[in-house]
Subunit: 141 residues, 2 copies
DNA sequence: GTAATTGCAAATACTTTGCCACGTA
DNA sequence: TACGTGGCAAAGTATTTGCAATTAC
């Protein structure tokens, strides 16, 4: 049984957020989306466009991410990350959400079979993947 | 046997790039780094700081990424992506590097065991992961 | 010699904050 | 009433581009 909007609003209330129109509409929008959305997409979506300012959406997302109700995807810096692609090698990363330290994962990557399956079933070409683990490192805990 | 700097420079030459000091230093820097780096980190690194402008590093990275020698990590938009976290559910994504379309992967995620192992061995808390597949969708191919 | 590459500076884009008004509890 | 929240506008940071000068081939 899928999680309902009401339940999610309850989780927000339980973590101390106030029940506002903007919060409800934001949650509803995210809940209806089958994929992650950008701040700009959210702020200009039908339910939010005339409802509230982009800064409001930004701060809501910020609070929701703090409470663990929303997640901001990607390496947690504002800047883009680049890595050299060495033929025949592949790296996964373990990143501390506290201090931002990035280390590489030594264990073999378990994703290749799924990647093959997706390659076959989806018809995508030049397929590759990125896998990152996030958490709080011992030093930050 | 690890890929050498010379070999990588050769790959660049083979894809039509000119052999410049900036290119060599950039590749050497990336090659020595055990983890992905940002444009700012690269441009201010010892080998590049006095060697060339940040715009040059930017354009080099751009060309190298085009040629498949460097990879820019993360969802390929400038903006950050947000997703709702529903208790007990997890999503992986399939993203077209051509048109940017994001769809969710239906197959079960094969990463949980590795995640458990990392949780045990690394001492990280609040561990979670993100897995994305990238490629060219049938429509873009 | 010719086309790719670079530096510098300016323009964009996205994110984040200040401050005061407002609404929820 | 008190404190979290919202709007608007401005500031901050990262990315990207224009153009003339330079360099690799």
């Amino acid at each position: 049984m899928p999680t309902t909007l009401t339940e999610t609003i309850e989780r927000c209330r339980a973590s101390g957020l106030r029940r506002t129109k903007a919060l409800e509409e934001l949650l509803a929008t995210l809940m209806q989306s089958p994929r992650p959305m950008t701040l700009a997409e959210l702020a200009s979506s039908p339910r939010l466009r005339d409802q509230c300012d982009k800064a409001t959406v930004f701060r809501l997302l910020q609070r929701l991410a703090e409470k663990g109700i929303v997640r901001r995807l990607g390496l947690h810096e504002r800047a883009a990350y680049f890595t050299l692609l060495l033929p025949g090698s592949h790296q996964d990363y373990l990143i501390c959400t506290g201090c931002g330290t990035i280390e590489s994962v030594k264990a073999p990557c378990p994703v290749h079979e799924l990647e093959d399956e997706i390659r076959r079933k989806s018809g995508f070409r030049n397929l590759y993947h990125e896998l990152e683990f996030f958490g709080t490192c011992p030093a930050c805990a």
